[in-house]
């Protein structure tokens, strides 16, 4: 199994989630993060004080998927989340050693 972490632009969340549902991803976990990268942020000014952090709001998806599905998940995210503009984000894939469903105690791919 794979543990897929994707960083995307916030307004793409709904689209990506629907696309993933369509290919059979039954669940995922989402969090709000700040991203630092090539994309430049906007400068904020409060009275005289200027802040330009380049920390931009992003959304992080975490998806556990069977090895079979993993590649398709990555591809789907890449295609749906892309806007061809800088800052679209990244997809990271890690190996997942085990999975457990808390409700039932099931493990492995059955737990996904």
């Amino acid at each position: 199994m794979k543990f897929i972490i994707a960083i995307i632009k916030p307004f793409k969340l709904d689209e990506v989630r629907e696309a993933l549902s369509a290919i059979g991803v039954a669940g995922m976990t989402v969090s709000e993060v700040k991203g630092f990268g090539r994309q430049k942020g906007q400068t904020e000014i409060y009275r005289g004080a200027e802040y330009s952090t380049n920390m931009l709001p992003k959304v992080k998806l975490e998806i556990a998927a069977s090895d079979a599905l993993a590649a398709q998940v990555v591809e789907t995210i890449q295609q749906t989340a892309s806007t061809d503009s800088i800052g679209d984000g990244k997809i990271f894939v890690l190996d997942l050693a085990s999975t457990t469903r808390i409700r039932t105690g099931e493990t492995g791919e059955n737990a996904l």
């Binding site: 307004f11 709904d14 906007q42 400068t43 904020e44 000014i45 409060y46």
Partner: protein, 455 residues
Amino acid sequence: MIRKLVSGAGAIGAGLFGATAAFAQDAALQAGEAVEPVTATVNKGDTAWMITATVLVLLMIVPGLALFYGGLVRTKNMLSVLTQVLAVASLAMIVWVMWGYGMAFGGDANQFISAGKFFLAGVTPDSNVATFSEGVEIPEFVFIAFQMTFAAITVSLVVGGLVERMKFSALMVFALVWLTIVYFPIAHMVWYAGATPETTGLLFGWGALDFAGGTVVHINAGVSALVGALILGPRLGYKTEIMAPHSLTMTLIGTGLLWCGWFGFNAGSALEANGSAGLALINTLVATAAGVLFWMLTERALGHKGSLLGACSGAIAGLVAVTPAAGNSGPFGAILLGAVASVLCALFVVSVKPKLKLDDSLDAFGIHGLGGIIGSIGTAFTMLPGLGGPAAADYDLGSQLGIQIAAVLVAIVWAAVGAAIAFTIAKLLTGLRVTPEVERGGLDLGEHGERAYNY
């Protein structure tokens, strides 16, 4: 007397009875029969109340309306709403002392505008205006300030149809034009009683009832917001993305402050601290309470849960509807009006609007426009003695109803045409809409370079 009591508040003093004690005496003398002219005096109790009322209307704008609207948008656009309300209200105040008061109440000219007292020429702390009671006056500066806040809140209300996408600069241009060609003339038409029929405001001359601004403020703002929403087009992602209010807590604060401030609006429109103000006071309590409860009941009837946003929306619907009727209704007429307006606005906003293409984002039309229409027409009914209203025995419901409907139609058409012109001028000068990138990223950063929250 009844005509004065029930008539639209505000203008009569500046016109019919003259704007200063001296003028008033002249008027009395001209009347011919005044062997012992009543010496008009400023009543300090009335003045105390009218200063307070002015402050209350300001409380409705900032922070009241700003928060009510601001809470309903997404986080990324919070500041833009707050800034827009604060800035257009400020603009309206400056314009008011330059040519607004002159055009609305400055002196006899014709049925559509006044002319005179531009830049408040000739007004001093000793200038007074008459109230609805013979011989009772208030300082003219107080009257000018009170009416100033009406202009300021009306243009701020229009923002509700335009949020999350309109350019700040475009809004400022729009406000300048719209106040001049829509608000000032309508205020004149509804509230100015000139020396002759030819110089009396058109709708006032017809005998249209608008105690505190159902037509001037709410229909006017609601219709203009609708026109703006149509011209601007819907927000990006409208109906596909989640656009839930970012803080209903702010909307509740706004609702409470609007309610409290509205007593300045409604009871202040009596221009005196008397029984008529007392009637407006109690009506503004119970109509709003009815609005709260009946919107929630409508939600239940439609199979939904009763919601806080519903309760707040109902409060505003009740307040809007009772505005033209505040002194022209008994308390149970007011309850009825609040309930009916709340149910109809709820049905429109909850059931009809979602089926339309239209993105009147914060329901400026659905609540202020519609509620204002219901209130203005309903006032013909709440006058009925049978409903506890203050009409005389010979009151003719049919003819008053006709007058009210005609006045509403004039206001709708004038506001729609004027708003379309104002939006068009803004479009030509600055462009109306922010870029899609700014709209995506939020107007707070894009237009104002700030974030509302840095928790």
